[in-house]
Symmetry: C2
Subunit: 160 residues, 2 copies
Amino acid sequence: MDPIGFHQHDHETCMSGGVAAADDYCAAKGLQFTPVRRRTLEILLSEHRAMGAYDLLEVLGAEGFGSQPPVVYRALEFLVKNGFAHKIERLNAFVGCVHPGADHTPAFLICRRCDAVAETRARPAMTLLRDLAEEAGFAVERAVIEAEGLCPNCREAAEA
Amino acid sequence: MDPIGFHQHDHETCMSGGVAAADDYCAAKGLQFTPVRRRTLEILLSEHRAMGAYDLLEVLGAEGFGSQPPVVYRALEFLVKNGFAHKIERLNAFVGCVHPGADHTPAFLICRRCDAVAETRARPAMTLLRDLAEEAGFAVERAVIEAEGLCPNCREAAEA
DNA sequence: ACACACGATGTTATTACGTAACAAGTAGAA
DNA sequence: TTCTACTTGTTACGTAATAACATCGTGTGT
């Protein structure tokens, strides 16, 4: 799993890849990858940043889908539940998943300057955390790991 | 730093300790540890769980303080900025800090059954995360680490 | 003493985020 | 066909957070 997101790459490609993966997964699991759901994922993937639910809703509404909050929240619930998108708690916002299907416990790298979001592996950190917690008798089931800082591009810009 | 919070202990003690530490810190830094701020911290410390801003506000209002949102949000801003309290992003809620002054990068252990919240060390996990991020050229400045699971008490109850 | 700057508190009003509850359409199984 | 399950759409509401402005008290400099 590579922390895509900060390097130049073809959005078109990673977008179609994500959508295709979702397509396959849904076909295999008998899930309905409906137009709103598909379009919501497309929008999320086409940006590599976290988007608020209402930002998404505005786009969906303008494209002829329902324009009320439940429309987008339901689509997001579906995408998140199935691992096609993630919620960034710190921002109350959502990102498309660029590693669909990959068995992942993701950690997020959020650039405070340009709002880009990348996913990276959280597994090693999770293991440590789990061990520490276990010492206290706490059984970790899930964890949110969200780092804030500067992405390569903005770092360069800052140094200049 | 010990993951207090799940074991029996004297709330009175850890509460007065936290308040005293804040007192000292404010005196040293020339900060105003005013009645609303003090009371807000007391309330947070007296529970070992995350409280919503509006829950706090209700208490404050009933005690003669202002009853509008900015009152509590400003107090919380002060407490968080100075390390006397923390925000739990996942819950949009706040907890009093039980390790005041300690140089900490805290991680939180949130019990999904009783809502108790404990703080534990995040440093080891942070280091790993920072290294991983650095590989991608990302410079981590801060990180939110929030684990959800079962605390010792609820774990026992679940097994019974 | 006076005027001023500063920080804290309080208010009203508004924005952002999220969900409950209900109506209606559509596709597949019995 | 009829029933069931699922999806989409709506209205209405609940919860979280902030903007903008008025007021007050304290300490400083004159």
